[in-house]
């Protein structure tokens, strides 16, 4: 079984823009979603914004029916969640203790976007990528593709 991906997230600028736009739109609540890609490719391709069922500025959770539909869709397409993203709206773009304890996709890149500086409008934001495996957080670099 593959345990670790390479310590870099290679992702298109357009996908980054879509994540940031979603996080701004949902500010001050946390936004969340997935970018799926072909199994084993480590290449995020299909942007899937999800509803934060918690509708909270300090917590996010995919709705349970949405979660089942998402995984079935990915299965049918031979995809996996390459990126799992969510926003922090008042704190830095670093995994919280809850993020670490609930992280359950050892192969995914966990992308954190902080909208604390500019809120729902254009302006500076933070975006960082991590792997979270067995409670251990490893930050990785981001290689932006055109």
């Amino acid at each position: 079984m593959r345990r670790y991906r390479e310590a870099v997230l290679r992702i298109g600028q357009g996908l980054v823009d879509q994540m940031v736009a979603h996080c701004r739109a949902d500010h001050p609540d946390e936004a969340c979603g997935v970018i799926a890609g072909p199994v084993g490719s480590d290449s995020p391709q299909r942007f899937i914004p999800m509803v934060n069922a918690a509708r909270s500025p300090t917590f996010y959770e995919f709705d349970s029916a949405d979660l089942l539909r998402l995984y079935r869709d990915m299965d049918e397409r031979d995809e996996e969640p390459v990126v799992i993203y969510h926003s922090h709206t008042a704190t830095e773009a670093y995994p919280s203790r809850t993020d670490i304890s609930y992280a359950s996709e050892p192969l995914a890149h966990y992308v954190l976007v902080s909208t604390r500086q500019s809120g729902s409008v254009d302006g500076p934001y933070e975006l960082r990528s991590f792997r979270i495996v067995d409670g251990e957080v490893t930050e990785e670099s981001i290689d932006l593709l055109n």
Binding site: A54, F59, E61, S64, S104, E105
Partner: protein
């Protein structure tokens, strides 16, 4: 009753990498006990003293068992069970 159980990536170390396994039982609790007999330790990932763990979702066919009878949910032949950890955080 023999049912198909879909195992999420994070629990596949228990099933030697298998994505879909078979287990038997008349209720979800029995299916989980049977799974644990075949794949020791997996039960701990699914239930604690108070029942199903809060951040693990178990579906019978298309329905979250929380909206059925939880661990007491009755299982029929040809049913399919899907386990998915919640995607959640703070």
């Amino acid at each position: 009753m023999a049912v198909e159980v879909r195992i999420p990536t994070i629990m596949r170390p228990y099933t030697a990498g298998e994505k879909v396994v078979t287990a038997e039982g008349a209720t979800l609790a029995e299916v989980i006990a049977d799974l644990d007999a075949r794949y020791a330790g997996i039960s701990d990932r699914l239930i604690d003293d108070s029942g199903l763990r809060r951040f693990v979702n178990v579906y019978l066919n298309d329905e979250d068992v929380r909206f059925l009878d939880g661990l007491g949910t009755v299982i029929s032949d040809k049913d399919s069970i899907t386990i998915l950890p919640a995607v959640a955080g703070g």
